[in-house]
């Protein structure tokens, strides 16, 4: 299992969010989530320009085993998606916190909404409890 980078925030549903220097939020699924799903074979991404609401399903990742919705951790506008993923969904298995990012949101209400997210320690505890 990959170590959880300290600059990430998490949803209970296993999405990670990284607030970049320019104020945008990069989103992916956690290494724990990719490990539960197994080999990913298909990714359905939102479109650039879409408006998304925190807690709503905006993408789908599918493994051989199962399909899983990906929820937006914060509200705002999609300003980038990872174009490389549809052809190489296994990138998420290989590097969930890096090259396996899914999309970038320009947030509307970051200060308030990021309070709802878990810090790495709290997320580590959550998945620890999951496993027992």
């Amino acid at each position: 299992m990959q170590e959880i980078p300290g600059d990430l925030k998490f949803m209970k549903s296993h999405e990670w969010a990284r607030v970049e220097d320019k104020g945008t939020v990069t989103v992916g699924i956690s290494d724990h989530a990719q490990s539960l799903l197994g080999d990913l074979v298909y990714v359905e991404l939102p479109s650039v320009g879409d408006t998304v609401k925190a807690g709503n399903a905006v993408a789908v990742v599918e493994s051989v085993k199962a399909a899983s919705d990906v929820y937006a951790p914060v509200s705002g506008e999609i300003v980038a998606v990872n174009e490389a993923l549809p052809d190489k969904p296994e990138t998420i298995n290989e590097d969930a916190y890096g090259d396996g990012w899914l999309f970038v949101i320009k947030p509307d209400n970051l200060a308030e909404e990021q309070e709802e997210l878990l810090d790495p320690d709290a997320y580590a505890e959550l998945i620890e409890n999951d496993e027992h």
Binding site: G38, D39, V41, E62, V64, K65, A67, P86
Partner: protein, 362 residues
């Protein structure tokens, strides 16, 4: 209570991800199930299938009993060691289970039945056997390892003593021999050549380790499922059950309507055949991205059907499935409802993959 095979600790030591499968704690994969799939298609992989139930039948009237019990005809089994795939039906023609029967001698046949159906199978077989004076003995003392792939047989043969190797090297498909304490059958559930080896529990871990040292890749139930689907093989509980006849599950080839043989379910099957089979099973390929999955709705010009087994095919790089649809539907104009999106699919003849290669038209 969750049951463990004798290889459970071995799987865990290899870092396998374990899941519950019909009450058994089994490895779904040891890392990447797609890589395990390719290992079987291209070289050799092995599966712990010790959860499957081995049942020995003894008694002078065993063949007569099996003529009654099974929809396929055990009269096709003339040489000791020969195996046959068959459905075991209820009176309505519904499938209680699918199984392999081995003919060993006139008073000794062996069945291998599914794990998830063990209890009802043993109850049914026991009930039917009484009238024939056949003794039904489950063999929980056996483990089973399936070694599959183009190089699987060679890897196994290398581990055998010369006398057993000579015998095992000669057997044709769907034949078993015994030697070195092993029951070695040239059968499988992947569409590749290979052996399924029934091994006494005490020998099982050593055999697994020796195979691994010989380069055979451990593969989990995840790869087993995609391999058998590509090979066009049904999974009990997903593609057929007691509410489905062999005609509706594309298993008509396993039904022998040989003259004068009164097998359980025969009358119902003949009636359905005469009246017309309302639903049929077809193979589907989806060229668009996404994955067909069990339970999805199939929209046809003749009414709705449903996806039975559906998955991603690692060999084809796209999704394939079995579906049960109203008779006469297709081949054109079928769509599958995937989370509210109607996606076109093609009806194809299966197997989807044979001998490691995509089949024509797929």
């Amino acid at each position: 209570m969750t049951q463990h095979t004798i290889l459970n600790a071995t799987h865990r030591a290899l870092g396998a991800k374990m899941v519950d499968f019909g009450g058994w704690d089994m490895p779904i994969s040891y890392g990447s199930q797609i890589e395990e799939h390719h290992a079987v298609r291209r070289d050799a992989g092995m599966f712990d299938v010790s959860h499957m139930t081995v049942v020995d039948l003894h008694g002078p009237r065993t063949r007569e009993f099996l003529r009654h019990l099974l929809a396929n005809s055990v009269d096709k089994l003339k040489v000791s060691g020969k195996a046959l795939y068959s459905c075991m039906l209820n009176e309505q023609g519904g499938v209680i289970d699918d199984l392999i029967v081995y003919f060993l001698s006139e008073d000794f046949f062996r069945l291998v039945v599914n794990a998830a159906t063990r209890d009802k199978d043993l109850a049914w077989i026991g009930r039917q056997a009484a009238a024939f004076g056949v003794t039904v003995t489950e063999r929980p003392d056996f483990a089973m390892i399936a070694v599959q792939g183009p190089n699987a047989r060679a890897r196994v043969l290398d581990l055998l003593t010369p006398a057993t190797r000579e015998k095992a090297a000669k057997i044709g498909k769907f034949v078993a021999v015994e030697g070195d304490g092993l029951f070695i059958a040239r059968t499988g559930y992947t569409g590749e050549d290979g052996f399924e080896i029934i091994v006494p529990e005490a020998q099982a871990v050593a055999l697994w380790d020796a195979l691994r040292q010989a380069g055979v890749v451990p593969a989990g139930l995840g790869a087993r499922d995609t391999l058998r689907l590509e090979a066009g093989m049904n999974l009990y509980g997903q593609d057929m059950d007691e509410t489905v006849t062999p005609w509706e599950a594309n298993l008509g080839w396993t039904v022998a309507l040989d003259e004068g043989r009164d097998f359980i379910g025969r009358a119902a099957l003949e009636k359905q055949k005469a009246e017309g089979v309302p639903r049929v099973m077809v193979g589907l390929v989806m060229d668009e991205k996404g994955v067909l999955r069990h339970g999805q709705r199939v929209i046809t010009p003749n009414g709705d059907g449903e996806i039975l087994s559906g998955s991603f095919s690692p060999t084809l790089g796209k999704s394939i499935a079995f579906a049960r649809v109203p008779a006469g539907a297709g081949p054109a104009g079928l769509q599958v409802d995937i989370r509210g999106r109607q996606v076109p699919v093609r009806v194809v003849k299966y197997p989807f993959v044979r001998d490691g290669k995509p089949c024509e038209g797929v």
